[in-house]
Symmetry: C2
């Protein structure tokens, strides 16, 4: 038996099978000198940037969910819910009682929707961070047409209010407007009653983009028929009304909440957190020498700068950084601080327009921007089958728009 | 105003959006001189011959379900549950209270699984006649691997028993065996414990086929690893056992019931029924002059002959016959009796073999038969998008077999 095979491999536990966790797993697996286990409560990776497409019937669920078990050769997957992390004992405990030891822990549990404690939001608005929630929106949107047609619900049930003018709110508003337009064929008697209103607390849409992009997004959405209301903070919600701080009341059959995202509060006792429950980590993304935090749940302390945005490209760069850093540590090398390379940002508006901003390039708008958006999203989808399938589905929806797009069934 | 446009159009109500109902609707719509309404409790058409593929993770649900609203130009669709049919008042009543008048009624409500009242079947076996049931089987099959791996269930939970040696039982057994084989990659520690047993009460599989085909089906299934037990009638079931009349007990983690199909008993009072609850109709498929019955729910009286099988091709031929007959009646013409043109039968065994019997041709087996099976099923799928998608999904599963097929996610 050779020296190498007798050596005990370091155990790396990765909690969370999102962009951060899986990027780390796959980078570590290439080295081959460690034992890697990924734990998640779902056995699939969710491509959340396209959740709004599932919510509006543009893609079937399977297209944006990729089974994670055995997806990365050499990486073990465990489906389970982590309920306790012990830095002292170097282990984690699962809900079913199992205890898993680690030499290195990569904590990448992601984020979820948050309502900022606004009254009535939790009870009355639909959120959009999980496959389950996207399905609920889709079923509600489609079923409402049937309920209005049979008289079970009034026409006002077809009014949709989206709260939050960030990329998610902009994308879902545009997609809902197009869904409503396409419904004229299936429900000719009632479809004209549908409407969608996008509500943003600040003075403009897409606040992280430049002003020109914000203006283009607003114009494009209005062209699709979306009513855009900026400077309109929500005060509270009821089952069929959104009340603004101004006193204005917006009646709504469906309320979609796209205004706030935060890390899960249950991990607050692992260390210092910011107001979004993100764990404040060192510039090497650590809470202690063998505990790494990546993605939406990590707040990298940097004086005078806002924290990094909670987006996939940050999580993936951090995942790769941590994998490389673990290798360095095992090899006895020094670590350099993590630096984020800004890759720009993009948001799509309906089926043919987008706004794209590259770090040092020009801002792009319109069809060309949309094609870049499309190419990039397909490129990053996990799994060849999903790529083929998303392209086929989009292509089909595109060419069949006039004659009635494919719709997922409600069951 | 011309004479023609003043004429009041005949109202045709079609109950059931299956193969029979939709074929009738689409044939009638081409004539254009009648008002057609289709009613179903689901807003999609289900391509039930491929349900076993959904049950075993081979196809996503959306591939075999096609939204029926606005699918046929000129045909209105109502989603609803019919609770009463009145031949005297010429109307039907829906669960939500609506009453719909008809001049001509086409009754095409299809069939469902039946347990023949065997003790324990209803409670312990999974059936496979609806999308919901197929999803339940799929989730159970996949989730059991996780439960066995975590120790929540014993290894015997991976034993599957399929009851019923007709085409459905043969197809699901083969697909389960292949699913189990493909699981070795994702669950290397436990997958070898899985097994599938097919139980048939009669002396051979596929009793409606010739003996040679039965033998081939048995051989092909055994080659895939299925244990085939003929002459094995089920006596009763418990949560983890199937008891045969011989006294033998088969332990099972999952029991799939593919042994019996019958029309819904709730329509027994509409007329004389056979022991499968099928309505006995005249040779023109009628219960009275303006009430037509097609598909699985129709028993065409014919002396000395067994009733027609409950398959799609019978339903489609009957749907076309009724559409033509309604036209004849409106034009004052005489009706000829319905005659069934036998198109043969086929069953697939795993991903590469099938048995096919044509009415006056040779029986086919093996890969060529499988290709015919595949071509015919894709041809009959409703909707171009579904055809494209099924071909893409199958092609992908086929080429990726060794490296791990695409699996729908459990949520």
């Amino acid at each position: 038996m050779s020296q190498a095979s007798e050596q005990i491999k370091q155990k790396i536990l990765i909690v969370g099978a999102g962009f951060g966790g899986l990027t780390a797993a796959s980078a570590l697996a290439k080295k081959g000198n460690v034992e890697i286990t990924v734990i998640d409560r779902h056995s699939y990776q969710l491509f959340s940037p396209l959740l709004y497409q599932v919510a509006t019937g543009g893609l079937p669920e399977d297209d944006i969910a990729y089974p994670v078990r055995a997806a990365i050769p050499g990486v073990e997957f465990i489906r389970g819910e982590v309920i306790k992390v012990s830095f002292q004992a170097n282990n984690i405990r699962l809900e079913d009682g199992r205890v898993l030891y680690f030499d290195q822990l990569v904590f990448a549990v992601g984020s979820m929707g948050t309502t900022f404690g606004l009254p009535g939001v939790e009870e009355n608005a639909l959120q959009m961070k999980s496959l389950h929630e996207a399905r609920a929106i889709r079923n509600r949107l489609l079923r409402t047409y049937e309920d209005v047609e049979t008289g079970a619900k009034p026409k006002e049930a077809l009014w949709v209010v989206v709260v939050g003018g960030g990329p998610t709110g902009v994308e879902i508003s545009g997609a809902v407007a197009e869904l409503q337009k396409s419904m004229h064929r299936e429900f000719p008697k009632i479809a004209e009653n549908a409407s969608v209103t996008l509500v943003e607390a600040g003075p403009r849409l897409l606040p992280s983009f430049g002003e020109k992009s914000s203006g283009r997004a607003k114009g494009d959405l209005e062209h699709l028929g979306v009513q855009v209301k900026v400077d309109s903070a929500v005060d509270r919600m009821y089952p069929s009304d959104v009340h603004l701080k101004s006193g204005e009341v917006l009646p709504a059959g469906t309320i979609i909440w796209a205004a706030g995202v935060a890390a899960p509060a249950e991990w607050n006792d692992l260390g210092e957190t910011d107001r979004s429950n993100r764990l404040v980590v060192s510039d090497t993304l650590r809470l202690q020498s063998n505990v790494w935090v990546v993605g939406d749940v990590a707040h990298v302390a940097a004086e005078g700068k806002p924290p990094l945005p909670m987006v996939a490209s940050v999580a993936m760069q951090q995942g790769r950084y941590v994998a490389a850093s673990i290798e360095k540590i095992l090899g006895g090398q020094e670590l350099k601080p993590f630096t984020y390379k800004d890759k720009g940002q993009m948001a799509t508006i309906g089926r043919r327009r987008a706004v794209v901003e590259l770090p040092n390039g020009p801002a792009m708008h319109g069809t060309l921007a949309w094609l870049s958006w499309l190419g990039l999203h397909v490129f990053y989808l996990a799994g060849g089958r999903n790529r083929v399938s998303v392209i086929a589905d989009w292509f089909w929806n595109y060419i069949s728009w006039g004659i009635g797009p494919k719709r997922p069934v409600i069951d």
